[in-house]
Structure formats: C-alpha cells, structure tokens
Amino acid sequence: MKVKPRYIKPELMACCGAREIHDHDVVIVGTGFPTMAANIAKHTHAPHCVLMQESGVFDARPRRPALSISDPCLNPGAAMIGGLVDVMGMFLQGGWVDVGFLSGSQVDKFGNINTTAIGDYHRPKSRLPGSGGANPIGSLAKRTLIIALHDTRRLAEKVDFITTPGYISGPGCRETWGLPPDTGPAVIVTNKAVLRFDPQTKEAYLATFHPGHTVEEIVENTPWKLKVADDIHQTVPPTDEELEVLHQVLDPNGLIAVYEKRGYV
C-alpha cells in the first residue's frame, strides 16, 4: 500500500519561493509555480503582498488556476486591468516591482537565463519562445526568483544565449550596463536545492539542500564548481500552515502535480 507523501517536490519548491516574498511586496508572476508561491506567501507571512501579470492585470481574483498570463480567469474581479505598457512600463520599468519569478531552459552560475535558443543562435539546435517578459523582469525587478531543473543540461557554466541578464559575467556588470541599482537574481530554487548568490563573486552557491538530496549529489549535478555555504543545511520542509493553505485553499485538486511530470521530482 502506497502511503501518500506529506508533500510533493513542486509543493516544497513553491514554499521555497513563497519564503522569498516579504509582506507588502509587489510581485509579478507568470503561471503555475510563481502564482502558487506568491499565494502561499499571501496566505501565510505576507498578507499584504500583491500580484500582477504582465499582460495588464493587477490583483486578479481567479477562480481557477490561470494557465497563461492572459487567462480568462484573470479578468473578473481584478483590481485593475490595462495592457502591457501599464504593467511592464508603468509598474515594472517605473520601479515598483519588488519580486519577479522566472524560469528558463538554461540558467547559469551568474543567474543569466536562456529562453531564446539552445545551440548557436543563428542555427539553433532548439528554438525556444524568446524573451517575452523575462528580460525586463530580470532587468528591473528588485529581486528575481529563478525556478530551474537541477541537472547539468539545465544549469550551465554559461548559457548559450543570455535572454535575461542575471549578474551577466560577474560583479559590477549590471552596474556597468546601467541596470537599476539593487536589482538582480536573489535565488535559484531547483528540484534539489536552493542556491543563493555570493554578494562578492555574484556566483550561485548551495544554500540549502532539499530533504532526500545530498550535497554531493547536488554538486555533481551542477556544471560549475559549486561552492557550499558555511551554514549549509536542509531546506525547511513545508510547514503545517503552508501545507494547509496549499491543500485546502490554493490547490485542493493537487494540480501542481503536473510539475512532477515535467521533471520536478
């Protein structure tokens, strides 16, 4: 008889994301994970955080999980609906967005993200969707939270194409390019670990490992020489409060399990 686990990996990852959100944060989200993470935060420690979608929606009240940033369920009940120029221009470029969530087919040690092309740009092995809102979110949100699969293909020493700048090629680069001060990637949440960025080197290091994973396994699955935090410890599993919100309020049908099929195990 199979015992139902207390939580699944995507739920742990959503909780990791949630914990990065502070009360009163203005958060720009896509679909899936980010929305789940932001909503966990809203229902626990950050009741005053507010969410927006780049398509033009602020403070939506969806009655079903949104499957895109333009999902029909984002319309009824939202506090404000405009267009891309309102959210990406007036709110994000205007400097009002604290947290942006991003994911990518490739993420490198400086938190640069590739959603454009695998291989050579002009003769891609695989053409990806392109920037969409990723580049401006990664450029202009105060803290970017990155979601990634943890293997040597998805993580990279250097991405094939920088769609969205993290710390580019290291310390001082964002400043040189004129990106706003105090912006940049804060964390990479993977299916094995939480990586943070060294304030000096701007390189991602291992901060916590998820239950069931080891430091050795994680280092092995990271394509750069992964530094390990002095205070390395296990990721705190979802708390009872977090799980209650997840299971009873946000996702009673367990739709988040779809991420398990995408490799988030």
């Binding site: 929606v57 999902d71 120029v85 392109g130 969409g132 809102g133 580049n135 401006p136 450029s139 920088i162």
Partner: protein, 311 residues
C-alpha cells in the same frame, strides 16, 4: 459612413503581400478570423508584429505568409513550443523566417511610440543581454545607445514602429469603427493606433449611441479605421471577455496537428482552405464537435455596474 464589410473584402482591399502588419490579441481577443482570411487569400511576404504570440502567429508562419517577424515571444503556452515557428527557424520550412527580437517591455513601448508620433523611445531593459548582440532586418536601426544628454547615463533607444495595417478583434465597434474593449489589453491599443490604417473585427456591431454611453472604453477612433467586420466567435480558439472562453481542446488539436508538416497542412485544409468564411468555420466546428461543445464555450454573464457620464 458605415465601414461594415466582410472579412473577405476587408482583407482583399487593405492587406497586401509585403505589408507590415500589427495583429492584436494574445489568447485574449486574437484576430483569428482575419488571420484565416489572410492565409486563404494567399497573402505572402508579410512582416508581422505583436508582443507575445501564440497559435495564431504560429499558423500564419506555418502557412508561409510571413517572412519577417518583429517579435518578443512565441509559444503555445500550456501546450509548449510553437511547431511551425520552430520549423521555420530551425529548418527553413516552409521558408526562412527573419526575426528581430525584443521584449514585452521594449516592443509595447515601440508601438506606443509609433502611436504617439515619437521617433524613438528610451527603455531600461535589453542591456547586458544577447538581445543586443543579435540584429536582423532592422540592422543598426534595431536600437541605439546614447549617453543621456540630461545625466550622461548610457540609455538604450528603440525605434517607433508604424505598421501598414493594424488588425484587432474587439468586443464591440460602431459602424464607423469606434472600437471598444474591456479586460486584458496586451498591446492592442497602441499596436492599432501605431498603424497607418486599422481593420476592426468585432463580436458585435453596435450603434454609435451605444458607444457613446461609455466612451472611456473606446481604444481606436473611427478616423483611423478602414473596415469594420462583425465576426462573432472571431477569436476562437482564443477568448473574448464576456463572450466566450478559451477552447483548450481545440488548442490541443492544433498542437497535435502542427507537430508534423503534413498534420499542419491537413489542419489548414480542414479549418482554413475548406471554409469560405467564419460562418462556415463555425458550422464545421459544430458538425465536427457538436453543438454542446460550442455552447459550453459561451461565457457566463456578470453585470458590471452602470455609471453615468451626465452632468
């Protein structure tokens, strides 16, 4: 002066091979019936633009109508990558596609600049990314970096876009073309207003009096509009707030069909070439999937509160 016409006439008269088109909508209000008509009329060599593209642009690319795309993103969302888009770029099928890539901040700003008669607009994104490294058909005109004359800071300027034709699908318009929307806007207002002329496709044609009951909803004024087409369900399989929901099932059909070139061609034949207009498309939809599925797409209704503009 009524500009109400059929989609066939609107496209034949106002869209020509080689044109630069803005086509509005991303899941919300895509101008699908206009896109089908463009494909049906065999219009070629188009340059197209919109921030965020989905199955509608994928289809137009797969049908061989597009040679250039001022883009930010193309995917089928929930259903993954756009297959026609990938085939065009990775394998040159049906032919090569040139991309000039921006972002969901810079491209909407370029359309806004176009709408407002600004020659260019400063943006804060793009820097530090490889999007600055790759230039295509716009060449050196893709962007410029200057030292701001105000504070000396390095500033990226991107050029205004002024498409030849803007095509949008909206909730309602009057016969002269005053077009009204509510709900998620994307870059539709600026894309349309940046264009030299606008084709308005709408769920319903309403009287000028109805428009005048709530003029703050209007996004395009009549004098920019050259054709008004009443095309109910014109955004299917996308949705229109207050009218119908996204058709996820049909989206899956498209994704499955477009996995292969043959499947895509069969899809085009069935849903575009074998249909003479939107009415026969919907007739075929009902024949194929049943009226029940059609009816299930219909939106619920919830009243907004009326307001008054009186004094």
């Amino acid at each position: 002066m009524s500009k109400v016409t059929t989609m066939k006439k609107a496209i034949a008269q106002h869209v020509h091979s080689g044109d630069f088109l803005y086509i509005g909508g991303y899941i919300c209000r895509p101008a699908f019936s206009a896109i089908h008509e463009i494909v049906r009329q065999g219009i070629k060599d188009l340059t197209i633009t919109r921030s965020n593209a989905a199955d509608d642009f994928d289809l137009l690319i797969g049908a061989g109508c597009v040679t250039r795309f001022v883009s930010t993103f193309l995917s089928l969302g929930f259903y993954g990558l756009g297959r026609c888009f990938r085939r065009a770029i990775e394998q040159g099928i049906p032919h090569k596609l040139e991309l000039e890539e921006y972002t969901n901040l810079s491209l909407p700003m370029m359309l806004m600049a176009g709408a407002m008669g600004m020659p260019f607009v400063p943006v804060k994104d793009l820097v530090g990314s490889d999007l600055l490294e790759v230039k295509s058909f716009l060449g050196d005109q893709k962007y410029k970096i200057i030292d701001s004359p105000f504070d000396g800071r390095k500033t990226v300027l991107v050029p205004a876009l002024n498409p030849d034709v803007g095509i949008i699908h909206v909730q309602q318009a009057d016969p002269e073309g005053n077009a009204q929307i509510w709900g998620i806007g994307g870059d539709c207002k600026y894309g349309a207003n940046a264009s030299k002329k606008v084709i308005v496709s709408c769920e319903r044609v309403v009287s000028r009096e109805v428009v005048g009951k709530d003029p703050s909803r209007t996004i395009v004024p009549s004098f920019k509009v050259v054709a008004v087409v009443e095309e109910p369900f014109g955004a299917h399989p996308g949705y229109v707030p207050g009218f119908y929901d996204v058709d996820f099932g049909f989206g899956f059909e498209y994704q499955q069909a477009s996995q292969t070139e043959e499947g895509f061609q069969q899809f085009l034949k069935e849903w575009v070439f074998d249909q003479k207009d939107r009415t026969s498309y919907l007739q075929h939809f009902i024949d194929r999937f049943g009226y029940r599925r059609y009816a299930q797409l219909m939106a619920d209704f919830d009243y907004s509160y009326p307001v008054s503009y009186e004094y």
